[in-house]
């Protein structure tokens, strides 16, 4: 029974890790790559570690596994957010079919401060008028 569970967990974990790898190779821009790796890899590694915990069936090992899983679940989104923010500031282009850029004009390019909504809209409008001229 427990062996069957180990088979299932390790297979699912390997599949999700493989999906993350295919995703990072095939996705068209940096933001989509960050998104796909964070989610799929976290789930895949969590399942693989769960298989290890089931196999050893020992209190000290399962505590260690829980610590690793909780740490990964806590830190993966934080790291993804930080690196995504950096990617936005470095000026990485979004994919040409992306629908909306919610932060357009809202960040001060020099000191990286977030502007309020109406200031940002005013900036975008002024830029468009300049382009018309």
């Amino acid at each position: 029974m427990s062996e069957l569970l180990i088979y299932i967990l390790s297979t699912l974990g390997a599949i999700f890790a493989m999906l993350a790898a295919i995703g990072i190779l095939r996705m068209p821009d940096a933001f989509l790559r960050i998104s796909v790796t964070t989610k799929a890899a976290t789930l895949g590694v969590g399942l693989l570690l769960g298989a290890a915990a089931l196999y050893f069936n020992d209190f000290s090992v399962s505590t260690r596994v829980q610590a690793i899983i909780i740490f990964i679940i806590l830190t993966a989104p934080v790291g993804a957010h930080l690196i995504g923010r950096t990617s936005y500031f470095l000026g990485n282009k979004m994919w040409k079919n992306s629908v909306i850029d919610d932060l357009e004009g809202k960040y001060d390019k020099k000191n990286h401060k977030l502007l309020s909504e109406d200031v940002a809209e005013k900036n975008i409008r002024e830029k468009k008028e300049e382009e018309k001229k």
Binding site: I24, L49, A52, G79, T86, N92
Partner: protein
């Protein structure tokens, strides 16, 4: 085919192939952000490989190394993000 063979001949090759695929992205870039993300993913998949390896060899001690790798991956990502952002930021 018992559990040991299944892990050794099916799961480990899948994981190795995935880390190889991620390494291709690490080599071709194009931006430095993609490389940082690829490095993070290689380490994350490495944690999975260590978990399977510890089952195969029946040695739970290897999981300690997985803990430390998780710490280092997070630290590396945060440090890269911090300094890359700082590089072209100008305070008045």
């Amino acid at each position: 085919m018992n559990l040991h063979d299944y892990l050794y001949y099916i799961i480990l090759p899948i994981l190795s192939l995935s880390s190889l695929v991620v390494f291709i992205r690490f080599l071709i870039g194009p931006g430095i952000v993609d490389r940082v993300v690829a490095l993070d993913l290689v380490i994350t998949i490495g944690i999975g490989i260590i978990a399977i390896y510890s089952i195969i060899n029946d040695k739970p001690t290897f999981l300690d190394i997985a803990t430390i790798l998780a710490l280092i991956a997070f630290l590396g990502t945060v440090a890269f993000a911090y300094y890359l952002e700082k590089r072209n930021k100008k305070d008045e």
